[in-house]
């Protein structure tokens, strides 16, 4: 599916992957998120993914006018997971609304893992 936006001059179609990428990138700006875990749940392992694959861990559902986003994330140990998840939801919503013009109906965050940082020298 693609997201359709009607404007005065014509229609704009935005592919699911674009929304996935933008959602993924904006989530990564959030403090406390240290990785995305593969969206393929069967894998079972919350593999840490790098920047090259920003849309991994993000899936988008578009039904008619409604856009739903699912994020599978890994957070840093010692952070307030509830608050981090909240920050991510707000940031992703804000970015999509203001940079792309898409009103997101629903964002679901799955915390798939917690990473214990290797900050010990």
């Amino acid at each position: 599916m693609v997201k359709e936006i009607n404007t005065e001059l014509g229609k704009i179609f935005i592919a699911e992957e674009v929304i996935e990428n933008i959602a993924g990138l904006s989530a990564m700006e959030c403090y406390g998120l240290v990785g995305m875990s593969s969206k393929n749940m069967q894998d079972g392992i919350a593999d840490l993914l790098g920047l090259d694959n920003v849309s991994k861990g993000v899936s988008v559902e578009i039904e008619e006018d409604e856009v739903k986003i699912f994020l599978n994330i890994v957070v840093e140990y010692g952070t307030n997971i509830y608050e981090v998840a909240n920050n991510i939801i707000e940031r992703v919503k804000y970015t999509l609304k203001n940079r792309v013009g898409i009103e997101v109906e629903d964002i679901e965050i799955n915390v798939q893992g917690v990473r214990i940082g290797n900050g010990t020298e």
């Binding site: 403090y31 952070t79 307030n80 900050g119």
Partner: protein
């Protein structure tokens, strides 16, 4: 010197003082930090978020009875973790976790521990994010830590903190170079500023130089001003009236009691009215009120013996109470008494604020109005209720604000009735669409022609900036007049007339009907001046002026 001796070691008491110092300083600077936010992002209240986080941290610290630094830092860190608010709050909680980790097993803190704490805090903070952005609180924390690490030989903690604060300051001043958004807005990073303030507060707590002096001075001048005001009337009188007769006219009450004093406020609805007045004759006021209904919560204060400060405080409180009652008495839903009796096929719902505008919409055939608008968005539930309330099975909704459209859409999906949403962003768009309303047409057809009609209207909105910002290349200061055309900021200035003139210059396209709706902060005379401005541009144009009564926007102007 004796004093230097003290600053080689931090014990439980000193540590607590440092935390209080930080909290104090942050409280003082909270709104300043908030004002540094450049992006209107969700985490827009950096100062508030950091303060709330630190507050909870210090509260948890207070609960700890331990005299050991490791236990105390742990309590602080745990409190911050639980109380973290927003992005900046989470980062702060990680910085404090670093402090706690660095002090594991420590009874007291020495200079080495301080250095270790700072560098550990920075390291932990960097770990918590996938892509650390430079030019933020992280950079400031890192630079502070790097400077601290260079000071290994120094034993004096005060000196270390002084140096560290200087480094943090330098780093903070460089943040605009690292983040273009900061540079455009001409500010430094808000989170970084918060960290610097916390460090400064800790130093102040350490040396006992908590600068309460400033605050006291400010207070003093306020009191003096307060006392300088001369009191005309002696008694602050207020009461709630439970109204007997439902046809009471608030304006009539206002007129009747006005002569007895000043600072009068009368608000309320059909059931309850609140009166507040400064008068020399509280008895007369109460007697008068008794005629309207039974009284409760009567207070009479002699203002001449109240201290000026207390008076100020209580006045503020009253003001808030009144705002609240005012808000509540604004009816959420207004139904059109005329059209409910008519046999219409299509029901119309509109969202609006301001009595004048509501009346105009009702005149034009809107069946039900939901109270709301900019910064007062009605909920999906309000729409669902409104749709239920209307007897027609076919319904048109005018949201009249781009932020309300989605709630209306949601209500549409929840309703069994046939609902069509005309995505109007402003009141004039709705008015234009209403003018071509035809009850005999099908909803789809109506939607098409109405939407076409809304495109013909140009809406100018004049409002005031609530904070400093930079948008569309405009540098906007708080309180500036902003001119918005169809939702985009097109002109900024100090004076409403100048802004409007600039807009006419830019946007004029052979219009032939102009309607001016003036709201709070404007009056008919002012609106006449605007009319003259338009007339200068074109002699043929027809101009109408209405009282809209809308808040926030002194003027809404439609050009057709």
């Amino acid at each position: 010197m004796e004093q230097n001796e003290e600053f080689k070691i931090i014990d439980d008491k000193t540590f607590k003082d440092m935390c209080y110092g930080a909290l104090n300083k942050l409280k003082e600077q909270q709104s300043y930090i908030d004002s540094l936010n450049v992006f209107p992002v969700p985490d827009g209240d950096t100062g508030t978020n950091m303060l709330l986080t630190l507050q909870e941290a210090v509260e948890n610290l207070d609960k700890s009875k331990s005299k050991r630094i490791d236990k105390l830092t742990q309590a602080l860190s745990k409190g911050a973790l639980m109380g973290a608010r927003g992005n900046s709050g989470v980062i702060l909680s990680q910085l404090l976790r670093g402090l706690s980790e660095a002090n594991k097993g420590n009874q007291v803190m020495d200079s080495q521990d301080i250095i270790h704490s700072l560098s550990r805090a920075s390291k932990i903070a960097y770990q918590g994010v996938l892509r650390p952005v430079e030019g933020t609180i992280l950079t400031v924390a890192r630079k502070a830590a790097e400077r601290a690490e260079e000071l290994e030989e120094t034993k004096d903690i005060e000196k270390i903190l002084n140096e560290v604060i200087q480094a943090a300051h330098t780093a903070l001043n460089k943040t605009p170079e690292q983040l273009p958004q900061l540079k455009e807005a001409g500010v430094v990073d808000a989170g970084g500023q918060g960290y610097l303030i916390i460090l400064k507060g800790m130093l102040a707590g350490l040396t006992g130089k908590i600068e309460i002096v400033e605050e006291e001075e400010i207070k003093k001048t306020v009191t003096e001003q307060g006392e300088a005001e001369e009191l005309k009337y002696g008694y602050c009188t207020q009461t709630l009236i439970e109204v007997k007769d439902r046809d009471v006219d608030i304006n009539e009450i206002k007129e009747d009691i006005e002569q007895f004093g000043d600072s009068m406020m009368v608000v309320g609805d059909d059931d309850i009215i609140k009166i507040h007045i400064h008068t020399d004759h509280p008895g007369i006021i109460l007697e008068y009120a008794l005629k309207t209904g039974s009284l409760r919560d009567i207070t009479i204060d002699n203002m001449r013996i109240q201290s000026a400060e207390m008076r100020k405080e209580s006045e503020k409180q009253q003001q808030q109470e009144f705002e609240q009652i005012k808000e509540e008495s604004q009816e959420k839903i207004v139904k059109n008494k005329k059209t409910t009796q008519m046999n219409k096929k299509i029901g119309i719902i509109a969202v609006a604020k301001g009595n004048g505008i509501k009346n105009i919409l009702l005149e034009l055939g809107v069946d039900l109005i939901i109270d709301g608008g900019q910064s007062m968005n009605p909920s999906t539930n309000d729409f669902v209720e409104a749709v239920k309330e209307i007897k027609q099975e076919k319904i048109i909704i005018f949201p009249n604000n781009k932020n309300i459209i989605s709630a209306a859409k949601q209500a549409k999906s929840l309703s069994d009735k046939e609902v069509s949403i005309i995505e109007t962003r402003t009141i004039p768009e709705a008015i234009a669409a209403l003018l071509i309303f035809n009850d005999q047409k099908e909803l789809d057809e109506l939607k098409t022609i109405m939407e076409k009609e809304t495109k013909q209207v140009k809406t100018i909105e004049i409002t005031n900036a609530v904070k400093d910002s930079k948008v569309n290349g405009f540098k906007i200061d708080q309180e500036d007049v902003i001119g918005i055309v169809n939702g985009t900021i097109k002109a900024v200035g100090d004076d409403e007339l100048d802004v409007i003139e600039e807009l006419i210059d830019k946007e004029w396209e052979c219009e032939d009907l102009i309607t001016i709706y003036y709201g709070d902060g404007a009056d008919f005379k002012e609106a006449e001046k605007i009319k003259d401005k338009f007339q200068e541009f074109s002699k043929d144009v027809e101009i109408e002026i209405y009282e809209g009564g809308q808040p926030l926007y002194p003027y809404i102007i439609s050009l057709e």
